[in-house]
Symmetry: C2
């Protein structure tokens, strides 16, 4: 365990060191209460100007799930069929409409961004991606296993499920309790000296 | 506190509910041991195909810090001058060179990506942004306060500090122990029903 770490070793294990991406799931449902609890943690860590552009489409079992599967890459389809709930994590490119409420110290930012869709798209994608990571760790905090997948047809999902919104899907995540043989072997991580330099 | 949350309330507070973006810092140094401990947590959560494109340039006090300040927006300069260490968090667009080592189940991905710089740039930015969020929460886990800033001249920093690399700076983060009046009032968060829909 890490010595200079303030976080309790059990919490380190739950969120970071022991947690793994799950590839199978049990039938145990994920409750609305659990989904709300994830939000109650994930909503807090920072975004630029408090913009919070992450949006979430939850897909339980049934007909919409069948339609979702058609947009998943072949290798992701079977596990996406079995997860008790699937989250489509998206960036809202019209996040700026909330600015007077969530960034009241500079409400005029709404109007500036209204005329600058390129900046909005960049801010939405960057900050929603930060929030996806907060959401993944919050889901682990709720005792759930996550299975994030980049292999899907984003344009297809956006057209099929999000056509009436300004949301752009970024990641699809299976969510539930891990089933049998849920984990692949842990892949190697880069070392501190591989990724760090000092100026 | 959240009932359906497995994470201990103290850990919820440290990482999510009580943690705040710091705008002032004490003189207490951040040790190399602390920076390595952050890495030992932040390295674990998932990236697509285990690509791990996040890179970190640490800037302590001295002449390089003075040069860094010239690339910060006016409103960020004073606090960036006082933080014991500043992290420039970047995406390595040549992350694929590590693939045979970190994704040995499909080493040929290196060669596919070598001929596809547009896909590399997208993967690097998306996955490094996820890792930035892991890093921010890992820094909190190490008992440190973070001050992330999007207001800086990325091209200027890349030219000044990263010209010999394939890194692209994404976020600058002050790191240390919070000083006097470190926090602004907490800004409002969006509600579950503002950001969630069900298919």
């Amino acid at each position: 365990m890490n010595d200079p770490i303030a976080l309790h070793p059990d919490a380190q294990a739950l969120l970071f060191t022991d947690a793994r991406t799950a590839n199978t799931f049990t039938d145990e449902p994920v409750t609305d209460e659990q989904l709300r609890a994830i939000h109650e943690l994930a909503k807090y860590p920072p975004t630029a100007a408090n913009t919070q552009p992450l949006r979430v489409l939850y897909v339980r079992h049934g007909e919409p799930r069948e339609r979702l599967l058609t947009h998943m890459n072949d290798g992701n389809r079977a596990k996406t069929a079995t997860a008790p709930v699937v989250a489509v994590l998206a960036a809202d490119t019209d996040f700026h409409h909330h600015i007077p409420r969530i960034f009241p110290i500079r409400p005029q930012m709404r109007d500036t961004l209204d005329g600058d869709p390129a900046s909005r798209e960049h801010m939405a994608r960057f900050n929603a991606t930060l929030q996806i990571a907060y959401w993944l760790l919050a889901a682990r905090a709720a005792g759930l296993a996550t299975g994030p997948m980049a292999g899907f047809d984003a344009a297809g999902i956006d057209k099929e499920f999000l056509a009436d919104t300004s949301w752009k899907s970024l990641l699809v995540v299976n969510l539930g309790k891990p089933g049998p043989d849920a984990w692949f072997p842990r892949l190697p991580r880069l070392d501190y000296d591989d990724i760090v330099r000092h100026a």
